[in-house]
C-alpha cells in the first residue's frame, strides 16, 4: 500500500542578512495511513520547520528549496495557492503549542469551529452549525451545548486545546500534525489530551505526526520515531527499537539524560556536553561530533549517511552504539 505522505530530500533554507541557514537539510520519511509518528528533537533540530513545510507554512524569509512532499500523486511543494488552501484543513490539520494564540479572542469558540468547516466547503453553513456541538462533545468538552457560546478566555488551557483539536478534526482530515500540543499544559491535562489524540486517530483512522521534545510522550503515543538534530534525521525506527536499542549516540544520550519516574537508583544523569547546534555555524563531518562522547576521527570530517542498522531502523553514525563496550562509563567521564 502506498504511504499517505512521502517526504523526499526536503530542504528548507532561511535567507537572512547573515547568510543562508539550512533549517531542514535532506529529510526523507514516509507516513503510513493510520500511523502515529513522533518527531523528536530540541531547539534548532528542524522538527517544527519540517512540520510547517508539510503545509507550506514556512515563515519568511524561509523557503522550501529542494525536495518533494508527495500526498497521493500531488506534490505539496508544487501546489497552486488554491490547491494548498483545499489541502490545509481538508486533508491535513495542525494543532499548535499555544491554543490561546491560535484562537481569535473576540469570536465565540463555536463560531470559530463553524468557520473552519465553512471555509473548506466540505459542509454547508447549516451542516457546519449542526456539527459544532457534537464535535465539542467528541473532544470531551463537558456541557458542550452551553460552551459553544463561550469566548476563548472563558476556557481553561486544556479546553482551548480541545477546541483547537475539534477545529482540526472538523473536516475529518487524514493527517493530524500536533506541534508540542501539551507543552503549555499541566501534566494531568496532558494525559487527557494525549488519550484524546490516540482515540481520535483510531476512530477516524487518521495518521498523526507528533512533534515534541519529550521522549516520554513519544513512548506513550507513537508507533514510530524520527529523531532530528541540526536539521537532519539522525535516527529513525519503530518506537520500541529506538528506546530499547538506540544506535545513534544522540538518541542514546538523550534517553539517559532525562530523569524517569521509574528510576530506582539516584545515579547521576548522563548529560550531553555543549550546546544544541547553531544552524548558522555547523561543524564539518557529523553535526553531532562536537558533543559526542563516542566519536572517532572519521566523524570530524565525513558526514555519515542515514543507513539501515536493523530492519526498519536507520541511524546516521559511523560508530553505532552496539559497537561500544560499556558506554555508560565513557559517557559519565
Amino acid at each position: 500500500m502506498a504511504p499517505l505522505l512521502r517526504v523526499q530530500d526536503l530542504r528548507v533554507q532561511f535567507f537572512t542578512s547573515g547568510g543562508v541557514v539550512n533549517a531542514v537539510d535532506g529529510v526523507s520519511f514516509d507516513i503510513e495511513k493510520g500511523e502515529i509518528v513522533g518527531i523528536v528533537g530540541e531547539s534548532g533540530s528542524g522538527k517544527t520547520m519540517t512540520a510547517l513545510s508539510l503545509l507550506r507554512l514556512i515563515p519568511e524569509p524561509g523557503k522550501i528549496t529542494n525536495g518533494r512532499i508527495l500526498y497521493g500523486d500531488k506534490d505539496v511543494a508544487q501546489m497552486t495557492d488554491e490547491e494548498i488552501r483545499e489541502f490545509r484543513g481538508n486533508e491535513v490539520a495542525m494543532i499548535f503549542q499555544d491554543p490561546m494564540t491560535s484562537l481569535n479572542p473576540v469570536l465565540k469558540v463555536g463560531f470559530q469551529i463553524e468557520e473552519a468547516m465553512a471555509a473548506h466547503r466540505r459542509f454547508t453553513r447549516q451542516q457546519a452549525k449542526d456539527r459544532v456541538v457534537p464535535l465539542l462533545s467528541r473532544v470531551r468538552i463537558p456541557a458542550a451545548k452551553d460552551r459553544v457560546r463561550d469566548f476563548p478566555h472563558q476556557f481553561s488551557g486544556g479546553m482551548r486545546q480541545r477546541a483547537m483539536i475539534a477545529m482540526g478534526v472538523s473536516n475529518e482530515p487524514s493527517l493530524l500534525i500536533a506541534d508540542e500540543p501539551t507543552t503549555a499544559l499541566d501534566v494531568t491535562v496532558q494525559a487527557s489530551i494525549i488519550e484524546l489524540i490516540r482515540d481520535l486517530s483510531r476512530e477516524m483512522r487518521a495518521s498523526v505526526i507528533l512533534i515534541t521534545h519529550n521522549m516520554a510522550l513519544i513512548a506513550s503515543l507513537c508507533q514510530r520515531v524520527i529523531v532530528m538534530y541540526a536539521g537532519r534525521i539522525v535516527e529513525e525506527g519503530p518506537t520500541r527499537a529506538i528506546f530499547k536499542n538506540p544506535q545513534h549516540p544522540y538518541t542514546w544520550s538523550l534517553l539517559r539524560s532525562i530523569p524517569r519516574m521509574d528510576e530506582r537508583s539516584h545515579d547521576k544523569l548522563i548529560s550531553i556536553r555543549g550546546l544544541p547546534p547553531d544552524l548558522g555555524q555547523l561543524p564539518p563531518g557529523c553535526k553531532f561530533h562536537p558533543r559526542c562522547r563516542f566519536r572517532i576521527d572519521r566523524c570530524l570530517t565525513e558526514e555519515p549517511p542515514l543507513a539501515e542498522v536493523d530492519p526498519g531502523q536507520l541511524a546516521r553514525c559511523w560508530v553505532l552504539m552496539k559497537n561500544i563496550k560499556d558506554p555508560e562509563s565513557i559517557a559519565q567521564k
Binding site: 506513550s220 534517553l255 524517569r260 519516574m261
Partner: protein, 341 residues
C-alpha cells in the same frame, strides 16, 4: 502504624525524621487581592496555611500544577514577598518578624534561582557585574577581592571566567542559568530556593544543570527547596517531596515512598499522569484522569480542596478538612482516606 492519640501527632513542621531543621514554615498564609475594584473583598488564596520543615543539607522538592501556589510559597519563604500571616523560621529565628540590618544579614544566607534565565538577568549589565552585585549590595567585598570571588564562582558553575565582560545575550539558555546560579552562590549561602530552574531549558541541557546543582550541594553543603511542575525531575533531585494543590500541601514524604505508594489521591493522580520513556511500561500505565477543572483559588472548595475532583471523595470530604498529619514515620498526608486510591 501507631494508634497514638491525635494530640500526639506532630505537625509537618516538627517532622521527627528531620534531625537538624534549617527552615521551618508554620501556618504560612499569602493572600493577594483578587481585583474586582476597591470595594471588593475577594482574595486569591495563593498559600493557605502551609506547614513544613527543611533539614540542613537536604533537598525538599515542591511539586504541583500551575496556579497551586508553589512559586508564591517559595517567594514568601525567601521574603521576596511578605507573608499575610504565619512564620518562616530560619535557624529558629522568625524571618517574618525581622527588619533592617538583622534581616539583611539573614538574607545573605538565603538565595534564589529563577526559572527564566532570560528575564532574570539585566541585559545591560555584564556577567561580572551581575554576579558581583550581591557582593556590593551586602558590602561583602569590593575591587580586586570581588573580582577574585566572581572568577571563583564562575569557575565553580562551569563558566569561563574570561567571559566576565560579556553580556547575557551572548550566552545560551543553559549558560545563563549558570550565571543565575553563580549569582546565587557568590555570598556563600546556606539555603537556596530554586524555582523551576530547568523547565525553560532544552532537554539535553537540563541534565547539565541538575547535575551541577547536585555537585554544588555536595561541595558547599547547601540546602535546597526545589520547586517544579515536573514530578520526574523533582523526584530525581529531592530527598523528600511536598505536593501542593490549591494553596495547601496535601502530602510530604521521602521521594521514593511517594512514588511507590502515594498516600494522597492527588499524588497518585499526578504520579499516574507522568509518562515514562519506555514504550513497554507505557502500554501498562493507566493515567487516572481527573474530572473537571482546577477550581479557582479565589473561591476554593470547602473542607478538602481536592474533593470536587477526587475519585474517592466521600461526603465527609466536603464537610471536614483533613489535617496534614503524620500517617507513618516521616510521611504526612491530608486525606481522610489516605492510601486508599
Amino acid at each position: 502504624m501507631s494508634e497514638a492519640q491525635p494530640a500526639a501527632k506532630p505537625p509537618p513542621s516538627a517532622d521527627p525524621t528531620i534531625k537538624r531543621p534549617l527552615v521551618r514554615v508554620e501556618k504560612l498564609v499569602k493572600y493577594f487581592p483578587a481585583g474586582g475594584g476597591l470595594l471588593s473583598r475577594s482574595v486569591v488564596h495563593a498559600v493557605d496555611g502551609v506547614d513544613l520543615v527543611i533539614g540542613e543539607g537536604e533537598t525538599l522538592g515542591l511539586v504541583g500544577e500551575s496556579g497551586c501556589g508553589k512559586s508564591t510559597l517559595g517567594r514568601v519563604i525567601v521574603r521576596l514577598q511578605p507573608a499575610t500571616s504565619g512564620s518562616v523560621f530560619f535557624r529558629d529565628v522568625d524571618m517574618t518578624k525581622l527588619r533592617g540590618e538583622k534581616l539583611r544579614r539573614m538574607r545573605q544566607e538565603i538565595q534564589m534561582i529563577f526559572q527564566d534565565p532570560y528575564a532574570s538577568l539585566n541585559p545591560r549589565m555584564t556577567v561580572g557585574d551581575i554576579v558581583s552585585e550581591p557582593l556590593r549590595n551586602f558590602r561583602v567585598a569590593r575591587g580586586r577581592k570581588a573580582e577574585q570571588k566572581v572568577q571563583e564562582v564562575m569557575r565553580v558553575v562551569g563558566l569561563n571566567p574570561n567571559f566576565v565582560n560579556r553580556y547575557p545575550h551572548e550566552f545560551s539558555g543553559g549558560q545563563r542559568q549558570r550565571i543565575g546560579i553563580a549569582r546565587a552562590l557568590v555570598l556563600n549561602p546556606t539555603f537556596i530556593v530554586a524555582d523551576e530552574p530547568v523547565s525553560a531549558l532544552d532537554v539535553s541541557i537540563q541534565a547539565q544543570i541538575v547535575n551541577l546543582m547536585e555537585d554544588l550541594q555536595e561541595k558547599f553543603k547547601l540546602t535546597f527547596l526545589f520547586i517544579a511542575h515536573d514530578l520526574s525531575v523533582v523526584r530525581h533531585i529531592s530527598d523528600r517531596v511536598a505536593v501542593m494543590y490549591l494553596g495547601k500541601i496535601v502530602e510530604i514524604g521521602p521521594s521514593d515512598a511517594i512514588r511507590d505508594r502515594p498516600l494522597h489521591p492527588y499524588t497518585k493522580v499526578l504520579e499516574s499522569s507522568v509518562p515514562v520513556p519506555d514504550p513497554d511500561l507505557e502500554l501498562e500505565r493507566k493515567p487516572i484522569l481527573l474530572k473537571g477543572e482546577i477550581p479557582s483559588p479565589v473561591n476554593p472548595p470547602s473542607a478538602c480542596r481536592f474533593h470536587t475532583r477526587c475519585p474517592i471523595a466521600q461526603p465527609i470530604c466536603s464537610e471536614v478538612e483533613p489535617p496534614l498529619e503524620m500517617k507513618e514515620t516521616g510521611r504526612f498526608a491530608a486525606c481522610h482516606f489516605a492510601g486508599q486510591l
